[in-house]
């Protein structure tokens, strides 16, 4: 999905109109015909016209750019990249060449290089929504979620009412969250924090027994985490097991003497009905 979106985005000039090169009228006309063929989806004809234009002396950055764009639309990203490279050399100040090169690099499975190219485009034109969006997708491809988050935050600064950017920012945060827990698992699959998180998930899903099981595993893996005991206390209380609940909350209070929530839970246990 991101790549497709990028390809679509790549076709959108970054807030500018397509630049018509400063060429003799006849050549300009052929360039315009090439663009027409391209926008009509007649990619072979567009390719032929742009190539012919280059042979006739129309070696200008916009022509290489347009040719690269046609290759990109045909999925021929190596050729597209070569064309964008020439366009960049001829006109290094135009961020569009960097942006389009970035898109093709992504399609070729070279996300690091793509990110570099897209960063350049963003630096050259920081207010471009398209460039920030492309860069965000490149970061996602690299699983650099903080990088993607930065870009979506910037996009929302540029377009605060854009619901899609809001959604994508939420998604990037969620991806980042999951990647943090994956890293914990890789570092220590028996980590108390991992068991605790599992318990939290079960609790949200209303699976009390499984939540208790996970919190108990967390307490065994590391008895020094007060909130695990507190949560166990809460869960046992919901199960109606006052004795276990009291034991757990007392353990939480040993670790955090005087903790108001733990004391409140203790009062709830004392005030609740009989043990099951």
């Amino acid at each position: 999905m991101p790549l497709t979106l990028l390809l679509l985005l790549a076709l959108v000039p970054a807030g500018d109109k397509v630049k018509i090169p400063d060429l003799p009228p006849q050549i300009r006309e052929q360039f315009a015909r090439g663009l027409e063929a391209q926008s009509a989806g007649n990619l072979d004809e567009a390719e032929r016209l742009f190539k012919a234009l280059l042979e006739q002396g129309g070696k200008a950055a916009p022509v290489y750019n347009a040719l690269g764009n046609v290759y990109q639309m045909k999925g021929e990203h190596k050729q597209a990249l070569a064309a964008f490279d020439v366009a960049q050399r001829l006109d290094p100040k135009d961020p569009v060449h960097h942006s389009l090169a970035g898109v093709s690099l992504l399609a070729l499975g070279r996300p690091r290089e793509a990110t570099r190219a897209l960063k350049q485009a963003v630096q050259m034109q920081p207010e471009s929504v398209v460039f920030h969006e492309q860069l965000a997708w490149a970061y996602i491809r690299l699983e650099d979620f903080p990088g993607a988050i930065r870009q979506f935050v910037k996009l929302l600064e540029l377009q605060p009412d854009n619901p899609e950017f809001r959604y994508q920012l939420g998604h990037a945060y969620l991806d980042y969250s999951l990647s943090c827990f994956r890293k914990i698992k890789e570092a220590d699959a028996g980590s108390a924090r991992l068991h605790q998180e599992m318990g939290d998930q079960y609790l949200v899903q209303g699976k009390l027994d499984r939540a208790i099981e996970s919190y108990e595993q967390a307490a065994v893996a590391d008895p020094s985490i007060p909130e695990v005991h507190f949560l166990l206390g809460q869960c046992y209380l919901r199960q109606g097991d006052k004795e276990k609940a009291m034991k757990a909350v007392d353990q939480a209070l040993v670790l955090t003497p005087g903790s108001p929530p733990a004391l409140a839970l203790r009062r709830s246990i004392l005030g609740s009905g009989t043990n099951r």
Partner: protein, 345 residues
């Protein structure tokens, strides 16, 4: 992808649909959007008392950090923050102090600052479990906040229906999930994840024709969308339309040059069509990409036999036999472990 959303299992739905926003009823601390559960996490569940797994710098006092965490538990977040800052003045790279600072900032509703503090902690120690844990929690909460903002900004948008659908799906309410997904597509027909979700649900429920419609919708926009090509191929196979099944497995294999499963499935379909020479090509590619595919070796052996290459067939069968033996051995070991486990306790 929809499955990623499911990780927020009910949370978007539960928190958005039923929990209050604003000030937490439980402790009165600031909860800007995410509701009581988030606050509970921030306020009550905020830390372990001993420093984390990395060695604290000698300049950073373990007693100071402990006092900071105690302040968090006592609800004195400003004091906890001040303690963290004192520790950071002694050592600006103290991961424990940065985590404490992040937690204190989270508890005060200053999420961007908390994010930045925890990011710094992870920059210094990328595998620090405490920093990862609290960042995981904060990022999850921030995602909820963004989704809630989205719900306020565009309550009838396709994305909000999609999120509601994900929540129902995670809660196991498939019918309501599908309702929401269909509503999402009615508003925003280009939501690939939603079309894919509906396609997958239809396929797994045996409604192959319907699944194919959703896959085709995606493929019209994105002709090389691997999950749709593969899913469509599976549908055609289930409908016993072998020619289309072969066509789509082939397209899926082209769309993902590193995927072994599509090549294995293509080989199997070609064998069914009595085209062993073509099957050899697909199956050879499958086992090259994933040498653990025992079934693919077995099928390859049959394909080599049918094409008149008994030596190559024997090699493939031998490989299949070895893999099967390994698999059986591994299963036996697992079973033995399971049987022995209670006795060891």
């Amino acid at each position: 992808m929809p499955k990623r959303h499911r990780a927020l299992a009910g949370s978007f739905f539960n928190r958005y649909a039923s929990l209050p926003r604003g000030t937490c009823r439980r402790c009165g601390c600031k909860v800007q959007a995410a509701g009581e559960l988030f606050c509970l996490f921030l306020f009550l569940l905020s830390g372990r008392l001993s420093p984390g797994q990395s060695n604290p710098s000698p300049q950073v006092s373990a007693a100071g950090l402990k006092a900071g965490v105690q302040s968090l538990f006592a609800g004195d977040f400003a004091k906890a923050e001040s303690v963290a800052r004192q520790q950071l003045a002694a050592n600006s790279q103290s991961v424990e102090a940065l985590v404490l600072l992040g937690r204190a900032q989270m508890a005060q509703g200053r999420y961007p600052l908390a994010f930045s503090s925890l990011r710094k902690a992870l920059d210094y120690s990328p595998n620090n479990i405490e920093a990862l844990y609290f960042m995981g929690k904060l990022a999850s909460a921030l995602s909820q906040i963004e989704y809630q903002r989205l719900a306020q900004l565009a309550p009838n948008s396709g994305r909000v229906h999609q999120l509601m659908g994900d929540s129902y799906q995670a809660a196991g309410d498939v019918d309501k999930a599908q309702e929401e997904y269909r509503a999402a597509l009615a508003i925003q027909p280009d939501l690939t994840e939603v079309s894919l979700e509906l396609a997958e649900v239809s396929r797994t429920q045996g409604r192959f024709e319907e699944a194919l419609k959703f896959y085709q919708q995606i493929l019209e926009r994105t002709p090389r969308h691997f999950p749709s090509l593969f899913g469509a191929a599976l549908c055609y196979r289930a409908l016993q339309d072998n020619d289309h099944s072969i066509e789509y497995f082939r397209l899926a294999a082209e769309a993902d040059p590193n995927d072994a499963a599509s090549r294995y499935a293509l080989g199997a379909a070609l064998m069914q069509k009595q085209e062993p020479a073509k099957a050899v090509e697909a199956l050879t590619a499958a086992v090259r990409l994933d040498p653990s595919l025992q079934g693919a070796y077995s099928l390859l052996g049959r394909a080599w036999t049918m094409t008149g290459h008994p030596d190559l067939a024997a090699q493939a069968f031998e490989k299949a036999r070895q893999l099967l033996a390994q698999e059986l051995q591994s299963r036996q070991q697992k079973a033995k472990k399971a049987v022995d486990a209670p006795n060891n306790e």
